[in-house]
Amino acid sequence: MTPLWYVLGFAFAGVSFVFLTIGLSWLLSHRTKGDRHKGLPYESGIDTFGDTWGRFGLSFYIYALLFVAFDIEVIFILLWALVFGDLLLGGFVAMLLFVGILELGLGYAWRKGVLTWK
């Protein structure tokens, strides 16, 4: 069996474990329907007001965009680190250029005030 099958099998085992436990809890626990107020979202005792699935801060989106850029950078860096023992000086200079360009981008974002939470 290849590792992929092991991973998928373990995921299947994990999901079954969770659902078996929730099923056991369903058998053991009591359930009541309650009145209208039991099903309302808990917002510190006040009935909910306005749209929940509405708009939220833009900052989350900007950080997510930055994250995508850096996560891909990290994947390249990991592969480079793996073979760094053979590349040595040449690899060092190449990666210095690559990371340097990305750092320019991060510096630009910093300068523009993106990294300051608003």
């Binding site: 999901v15 699935w53 990371v99």
Partner: protein
């Protein structure tokens, strides 16, 4: 009340213990009788043996997967108990002390209590997403345990990309938190889910960048190989070559697992319980469970990468050689002959009495029975201690597991003490710290490590 809980509630405690036992015994007896009388059981056993023999890979995998999944349960209970007692110690309180001696059963009983609580689905929620969110979160926590090398020969799967797999799967957890926040139809939940997403993805980058130094030194991403590279004394551990890496990794791991001071996603004084506000019963339990499994896994990964994994800090062999001691751990019970019989029959009772009598004589207000029980427990402890020492010296995987767990739980204790001492940061501080300082520090660490390797190993340098 469900059909099971109503009659159950009328039973006394003794009945609650006895009834399932009796029912189980009756069921087993009937099944065995019917099975043997009809000849079905021997046939089925033979068939089962054949089946296992033909698919030994799958059988071994099923056993390992079950063991790993069940292993997470006592681990979480131990960590929760540690958290309750250690934070009580930090706060100069006593902590839980009612359930069992020194309250050691309290976390286990809390776990079973959650199992019996009502699992309620509020009216406005997106039901499929709401139900799947704890599954995804738990899966993201538990699937990473597969690649952790616990001891020599004791690991789930040895992959050559184990580290990449670890970070890829650990990233699944944040999807579960976002699902929970979004589907709950609650403004606090939505805010908690978004905070969790923003915080975790931001700290994921310094977390991975801090590890790159270790990958460069080790030249591999297989965790087993990384541990094997750190064999020897404690001076060979990567922490001494990557001290900055360890610090960055530790801080980022605290944020990644949602621990104080970075627990903005479930900050209970600001947004009720964050993404878990609308959850109850076992589905809430699984968020909680996943958090503690995550804590264990992150400590285990820190141990594996920086603190030498299952390697002992010092090899005992040179010390033994120096004092000219030879340990003989090869036991041959057969050599005792009839003496073995007397040893097995008379040894335990005599030892128990030996432990009981001083207690009975010194504690004059205790009955003999009470001292006998305490003496029996003491005898068990001593036997377990001796068996443990013997196993430690005989089997390398027991020694490896001992060191691995000792290091991991030291790190877990550090996380717990951090929760007891540090105040929570603000959201802007959380994000600013990751992007402005941690990423810069991680890149600096990378640069220094790469430069050092080039200077020390590159053949074009005049001194190499």
């Amino acid at each position: 009340m469900s059909i099971i809980t109503r009659p159950w509630g009328r039973l006394t405690l003794a009945g609650k213990i006895m009834l399932p036992l009796v029912a189980l015994l009756v069921l087993l007896t009937v099944l065995l009788l019917v099975g043997f009388a009809s000849g079905a059981l021997p046939f089925l056993l033979g068939l089962g043996g054949q089946l296992v023999g033909d698919n030994i890979d799958i059988a071994r995998f099923a056993a390992a997967a079950t063991a790993l999944l069940l292993f997470t349960v006592p681990t979480a209970f131990v960590i929760i108990l540690m958290e309750m007692k250690l934070i009580a110690f930090v706060n100069l309180r006593v902590g839980p002390n009612r359930q069992g001696p020194w309250g050691i059963l309290s976390s286990t009983l809390h776990g079973f209590k959650v199992l019996a609580k009502e699992d309620f689905t509020p009216t406005g929620v997106d039901v499929p997403v709401f139900t799947l969110a704890p599954v995804v979160t738990y899966l993201g926590a538990v699937m990473t345990i597969m690649v952790i090398p616990f001891a020599p020969g004791l690991f789930g799967l040895d992959m050559n990309i184990a580290l990449l797999y670890f970070f890829a799967v650990a990233g699944l957890g944040v999807i579960g938190l976002m699902m929970a926040g979004w589907s709950s139809f609650n403004k606090y939940s939505l805010l908690g889910g978004l905070r969790a997403a923003a915080g975790i993805i931001s700290y994921e980058i310094p977390l991975i960048l801090a590890v790159v130094g270790v990958v460069m030194l080790a030249g591999t991403m297989s965790l087993n190989q990384i541990v094997a590279n750190q064999a020897g004394t404690f001076a060979d551990w990567y922490v001494f070559q990557q001290p900055l890496g360890l610090i960055i990794f530790f801080i980022a791991a605290a944020a990644e697992t949602g621990r104080t001071p970075f627990d903005l996603n479930e900050a209970d004084s600001e947004i009720v319980a964050g993404f878990a506000t609308e959850y109850s019963g076992m589905r809430f339990g699984f968020f909680f469970f996943a958090e503690y499994v995550n804590l264990f896994i992150m400590s285990a990964l820190t141990t594996t990468l920086f603190l030498g994994g299952w390697n002992a800090p010092l090899d005992a062999q040179p010390v033994l050689d120096f004092f000219n001691v030879t340990l003989n751990t090869a036991l041959d019970p057969g050599a005792l002959g009839m003496g073995l019989l007397f040893l097995v029959a008379l040894g335990p009772p005599l030892l128990i009495l030996l432990f009981t009598l001083p207690i009975w004589m010194l504690k004059s207000d205790w009955s003999f029975l009470k001292s006998l029980v305490v003496g029996f427990l003491l005898f068990n402890l001593v036997v377990m201690l001796f068996v443990g020492i013997w196993a430690y010296m005989t089997f390398p995987f027991v020694a490896g597991l001992f060191w691995f767990m000792a290091k991991t739980f030291t790190l877990v204790a550090l996380f717990v003490i951090m929760r007891g001492t540090l105040p929570r940061v603000r959201m802007d501080q959380l994000m600013g710290f990751a992007w402005k300082w941690l990423i810069s520090a991680a890149l600096l660490n990378l640069l220094i490590t790469a430069a050092a390797i080039v200077v020390l190993r590159d053949p074009s340098m005049p001194w190499n």
